[in-house]
């Protein structure tokens, strides 16, 4: 059976939908109409492909990590090098495409939320490229731990708004970005950075990120003449994971493994392990797995990695978990830092702390696999932004 989700109402099984204040509904209808119109439009795709190639630098390489493979002593390990994209992560794929769509919709302003700052930087970059005004909401806590990205956004001409409500991290930045959108609905498009939110966002972000999986499929067939046995990606909200996994959903022999942040441990109160510990909930406009208390209040979550620090997981990954198509694991801060160092030493690649969670899981499972087996990691971003934070922790 061919996988074909979501349905016309934006549902992936029982996940997804559209749960926002009435004020936003006409804007979502307008977005739906334009996304439907342009996703298969030749001139839109020609423009997008031009920028993907000449500006972002796609396609990104699928690199055989020889020394990492030898170190693990098991499966052959490939890295999908999203870290080599302009701005340093996969986030630009979606941000650029949505800004191009915004232009077609005749709007001149965008608003975005950001956690680690990668999506904020990507949105600010695309806005600068296309001459749009950009406002980015970022939690006060995240502004402190990702000051380099804050500076980058400001250099790029974006206005960075510090969010002091709630737990002052990514989920609160999403709240404030939505509120800003409510107030500026006439001339502003909201560019959400993850594959979640009210329909059509989860489908649209997946569409714009699915280039990761499409390229990977072509590249691995060229290199190995067969599909990988397992594909590993880190998950916060899930945009790099669903972008990588989507092209492989129908390939039932390819295991899809999502790695989430266990923070200080899934049995503590300080983690962001939504697939492991989340329950069915409705948040930020969609039905999803959600970390919440018995009263339905959304948890403050924690991870060393600001990009994984989100209490929900997008509806499509929630659905794939529900039908047992998605496997998942969680990695602690300590394990992530250790793999951050390991990949740097072995391959000369400093990964983003987010991606280091995927690497850490691979350090556990690759040694248990056979040498003829193939493993692909989505290396979703580079670690330049994290170097100062890790240096402090390691007291270098």
């Amino acid at each position: 059976m061919t996988y074909n989700m979501p349905n016309e109402n934006g549902y992936f099984g029982k996940f997804g939908g559209k749960f926002v204040p009435e004020i936003l509904m006409p804007a979502l209808a307008e977005l739906q109409e334009n996304f439907t119109k342009y996703r298969n439009d030749k001139s839109f795709n020609d423009e997008l492909n031009y920028y993907l190639k000449d500006y972002i630098g796609r396609e990104s390489p699928l690199y055989f990590a020889k020394r990492l493979t030898e170190y693990c002593g098991g499966a052959k390990i490939y890295l999908k090098r999203e870290d080599l994209n302009h701005t340093g992560a996969h986030k630009i794929n979606n941000a650029l495409a949505q800004v191009l769509l915004t232009k077609r919709m005749g709007k001149k302003k965008i608003v975005a939320e950001t956690g680690a700052g990668q999506h904020g930087v990507a949105a600010a970059t695309a806005a600068a490229l296309l001459g749009m005004q950009c406002t980015v909401f970022m939690g006060e806590e995240d502004i402190q731990r990702q000051e380099l990205n804050v500076f980058r956004m400001r250099l790029l001409g974006a206005k960075v708004e510090s969010v002091t409500s709630g737990s002052k991290v990514l989920k609160d930045a999403v709240n404030e970005a939505i509120k800003y959108w409510v107030t500026n609905i006439e001339d502003t498009h909201y560019i959400i950075g993850s594959a979640l939110g009210p329909h059509p966002y989860p489908e649209m972000v997946r569409e714009f990120q699915s280039i990761i999986g499409k390229e990977t499929k072509r590249q691995i067939l060229e290199a190995e003449d067969r599909l990988p046995d397992i594909i590993v990606a880190c998950v916060g909200g899930g945009s790099n994971a669903i972008g990588m996994f989507h092209s492989f959903i129908d390939d039932e022999n390819v295991k899809l493994l999502a790695v989430e942040a266990a923070g200080r441990g899934v049995d503590t109160d300080e983690h962001a392990a939504t697939l492991t510990k989340g329950k069915f909930g409705i948040f930020h406009g969609n039905v999803m797995y959600l970390l919440q208390d018995d009263d339905g209040q959304v948890h403050e979550v924690y991870s060393i990695s600001a990009g994984l620090d989100y209490p929900g997981i997008g509806p499509e990954l929630s659905y794939l978990k529900d039908i047992d198509r998605l496997q998942y694991a969680s990695i602690t801060d300590d394990e992530a830092i250790s793999s951050f160092q390991k990949l740097s030493e072995l391959e000369g690649i400093i990964p983003a702390l987010e991606s280091a969670h995927a690497i850490a899981e691979v350090l556990k499972i690759a040694p248990t696999m056979k040498p003829e087996e193939i493993l692909v990691i989505n290396l979703s971003g580079r670690g330049d932004k994290d170097v100062r934070q890790v240096a402090k922790l390691l007291e270098v």
């Binding site: 749960f19 004020i23 609905i185 339905g296 209040q297």
Partner: protein
């Protein structure tokens, strides 16, 4: 309690050529004793209906006043169940119906059946869920029907006429018209556009129309009230209640 209670109350008030004044409070802000005191004050000072908010961690339709009030309530340990159990313990006086404003997720976690059954026991007549749009209402309709709870969806300035017609079909008691595209909270003035919009909504329904969001001064209450059947005042009441400025609440309520 229920739809009929709201309808009767409204027709009594409008029948006397008066306007509707619907104050909003955040349940549990400052503790339940304080909430009880505020509810009694509102009931005795001529509130038409009282809208009672249940706190939520991520209130995307609310501005700073109501968000902070909700956070204070949550910090004080208030939950949906505690709110409704408390309201059960203080039945309404002077025939002033109560409606609940809650985001969807706490209701989903409590369970629809248990929630609506508790609403009924807690003397609640109506329900506003700000993050439940028209398209998803089917999930609660069996319960609102069964328990006779009024549904009061919001109509936004951006809502088109066809969509408005469909929302009006769902609506019980009164139409809640959002004045401007914004979150809840005070702002300085209302343009002709807002007033024309209220007139347009009035022309499209036989139900009374009430304006809400951003109404905070006596002057605004009077102006907007003259273009429709009444007002909801939320953030301002929440702020005054927080500071124990009960005299000022009474003054606002006498504006219409």
């Amino acid at each position: 309690m229920g739809i009929r209670t709201i309808e009767n109350r409204i027709s009594d008030i409008l029948g006397e050529n008066k306007k509707l004044f619907i104050p909003y409070i955040m349940c549990g802000d400052g503790g339940f004793d304080k909430t009880k005191k505020v509810i009694q004050l509102l009931e005795n000072s001529g509130a038409s209906i009282i809208e009672i908010g249940i706190p939520f961690s991520d209130p995307i339709a609310d501005g700073p006043s109501i968000q902070s009030a909700g956070q204070r309530a949550l910090d004080g340990g208030i939950t949906l169940q505690k709110t409704l159990t408390f309201l059960k313990s203080i039945p309404p006086n002077n025939d002033v119906p109560r409606i609940i404003m809650s985001y969807l997720n706490p209701i989903v976690q409590y369970g629809f059946e248990a929630f609506f059954s508790l609403l009924r026991e807690s003397h609640i007549s109506g329900l506003i869920i700000p993050d439940l749009p028209l398209e998803e209402y089917n999930m609660i309709l069996p319960y609102t029907d069964q328990y006779g709870i009024a549904i009061i969806p919001l109509i936004a300035p951006s809502t088109g006429l066809d969509r408005m017609a469909n929302i009006l079909k769902l609506t019980h008691g009164f139409v809640y018209a959002i004045t401007v595209n914004n979150t809840t909270g005070g702002r300085s003035e209302f343009s002709d556009e807002v007033l024309n919009r209220l007139k347009l909504i009035k022309e499209n329904t036989t139900m009374p129309v009430v304006a809400g969001f951003g109404i905070s001064t006596i002057e605004q209450i009077k102006t907007l009230g003259s273009y429709c059947d009444g007002v909801v005042v939320g953030s301002k009441i929440v702020d005054l209640a927080k500071d124990d400025k009960f005299d000022e609440i009474e003054k606002l309520m006498k504006a219409l």
